[in-house]
Symmetry: C2
Subunit: 201 residues, 2 copies
Amino acid sequence: MTTATAPLVLDDTAQDLLFRAARTANRFTDEPVTDEQVQAIYDLVQYGPTAMNAQPLRVVLLRSDAAKARLLPHLSEGNRAKTAAAPLVAVLAYDVDFHENLPTVFPHFPGARDAFADEAGRHKPARDNAHLQAGYFILGVRAAGLAAGPMGGYDATGLDAELFPDGRRRSIMVVNIGRPGPDAWFDRLPRLAYDEVVTEL
Amino acid sequence: MTTATAPLVLDDTAQDLLFRAARTANRFTDEPVTDEQVQAIYDLVQYGPTAMNAQPLRVVLLRSDAAKARLLPHLSEGNRAKTAAAPLVAVLAYDVDFHENLPTVFPHFPGARDAFADEAGRHKPARDNAHLQAGYFILGVRAAGLAAGPMGGYDATGLDAELFPDGRRRSIMVVNIGRPGPDAWFDRLPRLAYDEVVTEL
């Protein structure tokens, strides 16, 4: 079998780690998630592509009870206990002022920053690309041998007012992170069939 | 070194394949991308998590000159030649009616479909989660040993009118796919430092 016809090059162990065996966790062990692990995750996923290399994703880590106490009231009730017990919680957000970095991160287009001078036009690309990066980040958590529990069930207005009172960041997702505990997940939910998702024009 | 302190579990080869050596390609060889490869990519990335398991991403493949002739006029001029020459082009879109699948893909919440009855409320979660899945998809292309060339430089209104005249899908990105050709990419652009992206509350 040549490389050309081998469907995937990524080895089975890595496929399992990132996608097939990995699962959204709702319960974690007490084992801490270290700064070294988070740094290693970022060192890896920073290379994922974004439009104009803008990299709008920002990550706020919460570990302490004091930090979590600011987050928990804004989560939907069903998400509070598991988040309180997670060794690490990451609030993913986008930087409303991502364009200020464009002269550095996209230097061959000198007009890039000015093209985004209007804040109203920045929210959509920032939110889009931060979600793209959230996909990389979740897989990066799994690459560290950890389980992620991404959640959208929270009051974004309340959370943003508490964590980002200057309005320069907007949350897109809350992710619990740790080693999966006992009965960490539900049964795998059904996925759409290939023909429901992929078509050829 | 215990598992707990090893920063990443994913092996170096896989890290390189997905993130470190992988690059956004602008030029490809003529080698075709097979249906088997696309199927294998989907079989892998389908397991990436989405909110309420809604899986709003849809993928339209374009290979023929006739199919590309419908796409190219809507791309910004700088993106046309490379897309015309790419062995495979994938238009990534979201399904405006993703909620119709919720009784199947999220069966334990019987009211999920009705909660999204208002179309105006569906665009944001569909677009958000399709971008999350686009992150998985780009890494899946790389897992197949192929290079991806994601592009946002196109007229979405014109492209959507041409490819999705019934308005039930909305494009989010166009991705050229193939084996990288000679001089396939520019030098790596700078990434933001850890401290610019990750903070602790």
